[in-house]
């Protein structure tokens, strides 16, 4: 492996870092460039059960705030077990009386309609998503919303082609499925969960995360506009207690959960005595591996996208950077320079790269783990950017000199915090990458095709990105190995988790 020993190349790479850094924004202030589309928010959001917005039996509401400025956006209904039971009854009725009787081609048309109506209102949804969750508008506008629409469009076409999903077998829906989704991609996760379930002929009871319920309930408006039969999708909002009720309800033939490994295990334990089917899409601590022959400028962009996309609130974030030792100093220098150009601030500003941390609680978690990293002796770097006075913000952070035993190399931080480790040989890179309880994703940066294929085969992860990172598509199955969960979402393989064989 000559490139591993190519000292001459690495020496010249080291010299290059001495070039003076040109940092945009150092000498002048940017004008704000806010996105101004109207998110059309209501002051109060009710539960969506049986095709209608209904007040919760609990009579209770909680505030949804904008994490960018801590201002209240709307009141959200807090569903209790009675509300969840009503949602399941509505779903069961819809399943038995309507949805399971519809031919696939008719189910398809509803899903196509939903995709189109979401595209129509894309900007409005993007603004709402950004205000509710804190992610930069460029991400909700260019990624979350179009990708959510794409998921409905992709799965729509499957609804009348299900005989091709499992060769040699006849498939049938499971019935009613219960789903609980996280706050990092509120609308997109909703689409990931609902679209395949509906295409296969199931009905759904779904609970969004408590900090990000708004776009789910806005999507319910689209379900109404699309004429989706009442009860096919039911949305119950609330906290962990609501989620537990959704998972535990006896009418749920299957439950699907996306969230932390910790909560995933609690759900698995709580359902141990039942025959419910499960899919779990849990946490990760992905390795992003950079070899010395990698296209470095692209790799730096990939590292930045891998860990700072969506403030690092990404289960498949490339939170462990494994750098080939000969280029470690160069990569770190380039990365730090690139980090100085990242714009942290108002998520609604079209130039913002890193928006608000989703909640106060998550900000506290990130701060706690970063303090642990400092205490364990890793070297911390944060660019000196000015953070807004109100709201939850955290500077992009990189730790160098991290070893495998450090907690910041083992625990999911779920924030814009990168841990940098080094390796010397391919085998060491594989060993370090796989030395984790997680196995959701991995990245490989090298110019050598055979090495990409070797690593793609050896890395114990459900998604491997070669010379890219954090790419998603409805046709591309996503899901983890080991404690990152089981089941796949997207593609033909993802549909298999929403059917039974008859």
């Amino acid at each position: 492996m000559p490139t591993l020993l190519n000292k001459k190349r690495s020496a010249s790479s080291l010299r290059r870092q001495a070039a003076p850094a040109l940092i945009f924004g150092d000498l002048w202030a940017y004008d704000p460039a806010p996105e101004t589309a109207d998110p059309k928010l209501k002051t109060r959001y009710e539960l969506f059960i049986g095709g209608k917005f209904v007040a919760p039996a609990s009579g209770q509401y909680f505030d949804s705030i904008n994490p960018a400025n801590e201002q209240k956006l709307a009141e959200i209904a807090h569903a209790n077990t009675a509300d969840v039971a009503a949602a399941y009854r509505a779903a069961k009725k819809a399943y038995e009386q309507t949805w399971s009787r519809l031919p696939g081609r008719e189910r398809a048309k509803y899903l196509f309609r939903i995709a189109r109506l979401l595209q129509d209102r894309a900007r409005e949804f993007a603004v709402a998503e950004t205000m509710d969750g804190g992610k930069p508008i460029k991400e909700s506008r260019d990624f979350d919303v179009p990708m959510a629409a794409a998921h409905f469009f992709y799965h729509a076409g499957w609804a009348d082609k299900l005989e091709y999903v499992a060769p040699g077998r006849r498939v049938a829906p499971l019935g009613v499925v219960g789903q609980v989704i996280p706050w990092n991609f509120p609308l997109l996760m909703l689409a990931w969960k609902i679209a395949p379930a509906l295409a296969m002929g199931n009905c759904v009871v779904i609970k969004p995360a408590e900090t990000t319920s708004i776009t789910a309930l806005k999507l319910a408006e689209i379900f109404q506009d699309a004429g989706l039969p009442a009860g096919v999708v039911n949305i119950v909002t609330g906290f962990g207690d609501t989620g537990a009720a959704v998972m535990a309800h006896p009418l749920a033939a299957k439950v699907a959960f996306t969230g932390s490994t910790e909560v995933g295990k609690i759900i698995m334990r709580s359902l141990a005595g039942t025959n419910k089917k499960m899919t779990m899409e849990l946490g990760g601590k992905a390795a992003n591996i950079i070899f010395d022959d990698a296209p470095l400028d692209q790799a730096i962009e990939g590292i930045v996208n891998g860990i700072f996309f969506n403030q690092g609130h990404v289960c498949c974030a490339g939170s462990r950077l494994l750098v080939h030792e000969p280029i470690a100093a160069t990569v770190l220098a380039k990365l730090k320079q690139r980090m100085r150009t990242l714009r942290v601030g108002d998520p609604l500003d079209k130039n913002t790269d890193i928006g608000a941390i989703n909640s106060k609680a998550q900000l506290a978690t990130i701060k706690r783990l970063v303090a642990v990293g400092v205490k364990e002796g890793a070297a911390l770097y944060q660019p000196d950017c000015v953070l807004p006075a109100k709201g939850f913000y955290f500077r992009p952070t990189v730790f160098s000199g991290v070893s495998m035993s450090h907690r910041i190399a083992r625990e999911e931080i779920f924030g814009p915090v990168l841990s940098v480790l080094t390796f010397r040989t391919v085998d060491e890179a594989i060993e370090k990458a796989n030395n984790t309880a997680y196995g959701l994703s991995a990245g490989v940066w090298t110019d050598k095709g055979s090495r990409i294929l070797k690593l793609a085969a050896e890395l114990k992860a459900g998604v491997v990105w070669a010379n890219t990172y954090n790419k998603f598509d409805p046709a591309s199955p996503f899901g983890g190995y080991k404690e990152s969960g089981f089941g796949r979402e997207g593609g033909r393989q993802g549909l298999l988790d929403y059917c039974q064989f008859v």
Binding site: K265, A272, G462, P477, G491
Partner: protein, 288 residues
């Protein structure tokens, strides 16, 4: 004077060797008339952990074999069984099977092995995919074996069920630690002898005999077992699923309360292979 026959000391096949339990415990095997036949090893939790270790050692090598090679080895196992049909049938008759039923089960077992031998170099073409993503990437999904699979054989069909559960797991490159029927363990003992002569590397299949109640807690919680399969009753299933949560194991169990027709074609399918596969999606840029 009649010759006194040499009786066989039953040993379990673990890590490519024939062993007694480290606990030195046995339980008696009797024929349907109640006559003593032999002492069967009563494997302990320690034996189970040792078997997992053996499976872990064998795993990477077995997974790296070519699909064609794995197919041939499983076919070879079928050849070994075919040649020892009589012995297998006799082992089944010890559990009370009639001669006809025993012969039928042996035949179905061998045919099932041949069925899976043929799948080894085909399932990938059926289950994997190239995915048309809306960006300039070549995107494909392939399968990989999960690793070490813990399997619990039912009490009935002590040979056919054993092979029906085992064969799909190893066909795709997994290694297996399996608890044989505790009421009819003898066919698993005999099968071990055939596994040993089948070119299957030691440690790929590890067959234990013993008591379910004693071993199930370790099956449930051993973190190196990536998936659990086989047959379990309601109480056992709850225990297995509870333990599995600790390391997010995949659990797919048949219910012991429902009658299972192991002869049915339902018990030989590509889905049985899929149950012990992980799907990996790879993104690769397309461009100059």
């Amino acid at each position: 004077m009649t010759r006194l026959p040499i009786t066989k000391t039953p040993k379990v096949y673990v890590g490519g060797a024939f062993i007694r339990s480290e606990s030195a415990r046995t339980f008696p095997l009797t024929n349907p008339a109640g006559d003593f036949i032999a002492n069967i090893p009563q494997c302990s939790r320690k034996d189970l952990r040792n078997a997992v270790e053996a499976a872990a050692k064998a795993g990477p090598g077995w997974a790296k074999r070519t699909a064609y090679n794995r197919g041939q080895i499983i076919y070879r196992l079928g050849e070994m069984l075919e040649a020892r049909r009589v012995e297998l049938a006799e082992a089944l008759r010890l559990g009370g099977s009639s001669a006809a039923a025993a012969a039928k089960e042996v035949t179905a077992t061998i045919d099932r092995l041949i069925y899976y031998a043929g799948w080894a170099d085909k399932y990938e073409q059926v289950l994997s995919s190239v995915n048309p993503v809306a960006s300039p990437y070549f995107n494909f999904t392939v399968s990989e074996p999960m690793g070490i699979i813990g399997l619990l054989a039912p009490q009935e069909a002590p040979l056919l069920a054993l092979i029906s559960l085992l064969a799909p797991a190893i066909t795709s490159g997994n290694t297996v630690v399996m608890l044989a029927s505790s009421t009819q363990p003898y066919p698993a003992i005999i099968l071990g002898e055939m596994l040993a002569t089948s070119d299957l590397p030691g440690g790929v299949v590890n067959l234990l005999t013993g008591l379910r109640a004693e071993l199930i807690p370790t099956f449930a919680t051993h973190t190196h077992l990536r998936a659990l399969g086989g047959v379990a009753n309601r109480v056992e299933q709850a225990a297995l699923k509870l333990g599995a949560a600790e390391s997010v194991k995949r659990v797919g169990l048949f219910s012991a309360e429902q009658p299972i027709n192991w002869f049915s074609s339902e018990h030989q399918s590509v889905d049985a292979l899929r149950a012990y596969l992980e799907f990996k999606t790879v993104w690769h840029p397309m461009g100059g």
